[in-house]
């Protein structure tokens, strides 16, 4: 990719960090990016993303150069024409699952029929719910989906206002730990990965620097793999959550496959189809093409051996 060339170097690189991306927290904490780019006089600016949609807004408005999102969110945005590319997978998180209270009597997806399920429409847990139902051959209209923000869904579940909840970490971990919530349906494959996206304009102009950012991300990823305990503590401290919660959250993250590839492509295509059925993505969009446009493994392939 470096062959395309571009201008010499950016003045600054703007990275986002997010509590759903432990890698970004580690990277920011240790200041490795600053270390690497300082010599060249490039400034690093960190911006907090409080959710995929914020990260995408920042990317779209040229407020950050790299943004961390869920894979499905990146796809939706791409379908709206955002000029972004996914260049790195910061983790394969199992951050969403279906949760219920332990005495609710719900044990399988079948049991959800006619029940009230909280989910945030358009986000990963929602996609997860639809995919799970579809996998069991249950029509989405057979359950009552209540649109609640993630945290509110958790409260609604614990106060028995809904029967189940398509949860998201760290809320889910906390509900599990403190309120006796039960993850009655899990499927890591229905999660859509943590995507590190770059603005296309940045990638075109400074391809070399995309590689170098991936390099520092790799350093952080490896550190987490080597130091799971410390990583959990760091996450707990940064995000202001309980260490136990952080541990559970981290355990559900698979940091082993950083290079965007076919696995990811397929998972995202599946999500895309579900989203298309749910009218979130335009019916005449070509999902496969969109995914091909979005996922660009070449930078990571080049950098990671």
């Amino acid at each position: 990719a470096s062959a395309t060339g571009g201008e010499s170097q950016p003045d600054e690189i703007r990275l986002d960090y997010a509590y759903y991306s432990p890698t970004s927290l580690v990277l920011r904490k240790f200041g490795w990016a600053e270390e690497v780019f300082e010599e060249e006089g490039i400034e690093i600016e960190w911006v907090l993303s409080q959710g995929s949609n914020r990260a995408l807004e920042f990317l779209n408005s040229n407020s950050v150069d790299f943004g961390s999102t869920a894979g499905a969110a990146a796809l939706i945005s791409k379908s709206n024409g955002s000029p972004i590319q996914n260049v790195y997978i910061y983790s394969q998180p199992e951050w969403t699952a279906l949760v219920t209270n332990h005495d609710s009597g719900i044990e399988t997806l079948e049991d959800l029929k006619g029940k009230r399920v909280a989910a945030t429409i358009g986000t990963d847990p929602y996609i997860f719910l639809l995919r799970s139902l579809a996998a069991e051959g249950i029509d989405a209209s057979e359950v009552e989906i209540i649109n609640l923000q993630h945290g509110d869904g958790a409260s609604a579940l614990t106060s028995n206002q809904v029967d189940a909840w398509a949860g998201l970490d760290p809320h889910m971990a906390r509900v599990e730990l403190e309120a006796g919530g039960e993850l009655f349906y899990r499927n890591i494959d229905f999660n859509t990965y943590g995507f590190l996206n770059v603005r296309e304009a940045f990638a075109d102009k400074y391809p070399e620097y995309v590689n170098r950012v991936i390099e520092v991300y790799e350093k952080a990823r490896k550190w987490i793999l080597d130091n799971p305990e410390e990583a959990a503590e760091l996450l707990a401290e940064e995000a202001g959550i309980d260490v136990e919660v952080a541990k559970i959250q981290l355990q559900r993250n698979d940091f082993s496959q950083p290079i965007p590839g076919d696995v990811h492509r397929e998972a995202i295509i599946e999500s895309g189809k579900i989203l298309q059925e749910g009218d979130v993505i335009d019916a005449d969009a070509n999902i496969e093409e969109l995914v091909d446009d979005l996922i660009n493994g070449s930078f990571a392939e080049e950098t990671i051996d």
Partner: protein, 281 residues
């Protein structure tokens, strides 16, 4: 107006002036509407132009034409009316309850020093709490049904109405209050017959402010398990990263908010006919 001994010419002149005045009024009204449309129309034209020029790419800020076609699509499926009607219903109900609560508490606080000392501080404290902060508490207390949504909107409406009413009451001319006192009105009569009419201008500002805030609180209200409504539409747009939906909901908010405000403004003008206001140049 004055039913004076009408000579024929007098009557004629009056009829004549009335007609002339009615015509004048009509002409005036269209002029007002036209003047008021200048800025919005300019804005839309500029925006459409910039969008077509590619200054705003569609993924950031879709052109107004795209937004309107999105709205029309919704209108075609009928979804639009459902979104609008449920939200209007919620705002209306919340507005009603919020206003009633504000009038009751506001009169109490405005009239009794003790009540002011007891209630006002905590009300003023609650006033700065953002709508989003109430969401988890409301879900906890009232669940996710309509009642929690309406209450949330009522909370938004309450504060400006309360604040304006209390200040209006405190600002009532002592001279008029004394008139009431001379006739030994009961406190309730004082409020109804002197204080409320005298603070009506203030009250109306509060009500209009409150309605505006009601519209703002819709978003927080519809975060609580709504599957229809303008606030839902907005959040959906943000969650599904759909700028058309976001902008469409903004335009709907602006348009419907403005319409409801306009109704209040008419009511205000009708109720304050007696004011000796200054005519503007």
């Amino acid at each position: 107006m004055a039913k004076s001994t009408g000579e024929l010419t007098g009557v004629y002149i009056r009829e004549h002036t009335k007609k002339k005045e009615r015509n004048k009024k009509k002409k005036k009204q269209t002029e007002v509407v036209l003047l008021g449309s200048i800025l919005p129309v300019l804005l839309f034209i500029l925006w459409e132009f910039l969008s077509r020029q590619g200054v705003f790419p569609a993924y950031q800020l879709p052109a107004p034409s795209a937004v309107f076609s999105a709205i029309l699509d919704m209108a075609a499926t009928g979804a639009l009316w459902e979104h609008i009607s449920i939200t209007v219903y919620r705002v209306f109900a919340g507005f009603l309850f919020g206003t009633i609560a504000a009038v009751l508490l506001g009169s109490l606080v405005g009239f009794y020093q003790k009540a002011e000392h007891i209630f006002d501080p905590i009300i003023q404290a609650f006033r700065s709490i953002p709508s989003l902060a109430w969401v988890p508490l409301f879900i906890l207390w009232m669940g996710i049904g309509e009642s929690s949504k309406i209450t949330m909107i009522a909370v938004g409406v309450f504060f400006p109405v309360y604040l304006n009413l209390v200040s209006g009451i405190l600002g009532v001319d002592r001279k008029l209050i004394e008139v009431g006192k001379m006739y030994k009105l009961t406190p309730l009569q004082q409020v109804r017959r002197i204080i409320l009419p005298a603070s009506l201008p203030s009250f109306f500002v509060g009500v209009r402010s409150g309605l505006g805030l009601g519209w703002m609180f819709v978003v927080a209200a519809e975060l609580m398990g709504a599957s229809q409504g303008l606030g839902y539409l907005l959040v959906l747009g943000q969650n599904t990263l759909s700028p058309e939906t976001i902008i469409a909901s903004i335009i709907l908010f602006a348009f419907i908010g403005k319409s409801t405000d306009w109704l209040l403004k008419i009511l205000e003008a009708r109720s304050l006919y007696w004011q000796d206001r200054f005519a503007k140049t």
